[in-house]
């Protein structure tokens, strides 16, 4: 498959994996491996003082996987910027998935605050991958301030509903000058394939894999779906028609007419 390039860095895989909700670090590590991904997201939280030695990073080989810290939990631009700076101090690299979600019920991103935070972080040298609603105008503004990607949602985080924002994502893809990563709401490999067939550059999946009965096999299913979708996009999908268009010849029938 052709390589994906984000901020000058090449990726063989077009599937990014979230690390939340796994039953154990061991299962997560195996699912990450099976997915073929090269980028995994993580969140920053306070150390649990009563259980201080739970160490997620021990389960992630940073030579194989780029760590993409998110700013989840941030309710406004200032909180997101603070989390991004802490994440940079932790990873030693400046990649960040910017998310600002003031409402915990639907976890929809606040575009205005996201744009504000993106402008600050880009100036500070961060490689910013913003999680956004499927808003083509906002995507353009983020590109303009210098984000490395735009990451429109398919449906609310963890909802597994598939691509409910198809028309708007198509416009974002058409207008994008940076890679478009469809993030959130992809609940089945067919959803990820659909995003890739539409011309998305990559997809980010967490819940659909982590909450599957067999996360390791599901990770592999997503890997294959993303590859199939990309290949289909590159192959040029045949046109849709309203009317039937026979695949077999309409001559030489065994009847007299």
């Amino acid at each position: 498959m052709d390589k994906l390039v984000i901020a000058g860095q090449e990726f063989e895989s077009r599937l990014f994996i979230g690390t939340g909700k796994y039953a154990s670090n061991a299962i997560m590590a195996q699912a990450i491996e099976a997915s073929g991904t090269q980028m995994v997201t993580v969140a920053l939280r306070r150390v649990d003082i009563d259980n201080p030695n739970d160490n997620l990073l021990a389960a992630i080989d940073r030579k194989k996987y780029l760590l993409l810290p998110n700013t989840s939990g941030a309710r406004d631009a200032a909180e997101a910027v603070r989390l991004a700076r802490l994440a940079r101090a932790a990873t030693g690299i400046a990649w960040v998935k910017l998310e600002v979600t003031p409402d915990p019920y639907y976890l929809l991103p606040d575009g205005e605050e996201t744009l504000k935070a993106a402008a600050v972080l880009v100036k500070e040298g961060f490689i910013v991958l913003p999680y956004i609603n499927a808003d083509p105008i906002l995507a353009k503004k983020l590109q303009h301030v210098g984000t490395a990607t735009v990451m429109p949602l398919a449906a609310p985080i963890g909802s597994n509903k598939g691509i409910k924002t198809r028309d708007a994502i198509e416009i974002i893809i058409e207008q994008a000058t940076v890679p478009v990563v469809v993030d959130a709401g992809l609940g089945a490999p067919s959803h990820a394939a659909e995003a890739m067939e539409m011309g998305a550059d990559a997809t980010l999946v967490n819940t659909a894999i982590a909450a599957a009965a067999n996360p390791i096999a599901m990770a592999m299913a997503f890997k294959l779906a993303v590859q199939a979708g990309r290949l289909a996009y590159q192959s040029g999908l045949a046109a849709q028609t309203r009317q039937a268009c026979a695949s077999s010849p309409l001559t030489g029938f065994l009847r007299n007419e």
Binding site: G18, R45, V47, N55
Partner: protein, 70 residues
């Protein structure tokens, strides 16, 4: 009066002597310092400076680390 620090939102009492540095505090709390990021009174402390960072009474300390997330 007892000397205190506010760590991750909770006030903790250290009797008459605070841990001298951030490194000492983490040791006392049995936290592997290679896995955490610290902020003291809003300032991020680089991990390499943990051993030289002195703690003052009533400092507000945040200790964070990576957890699973999407």
């Amino acid at each position: 009066m007892d000397k205190r620090l506010k760590i991750n939102g909770q006030v903790r009492d250290f009797g008459d002597r605070l841990p001298a540095t951030l490194s000492e505090l983490l040791k006392l709390m049995q936290i592997d310092q290679a896995t955490v990021v610290a902020e003291i009174d809003g300032q991020i402390i680089p991990r390499t400076a943990f051993g030289q960072t002195a703690l003052k009474e009533d400092a507000v300390i945040e200790l964070v680390r990576f957890v699973g997330g999407g």
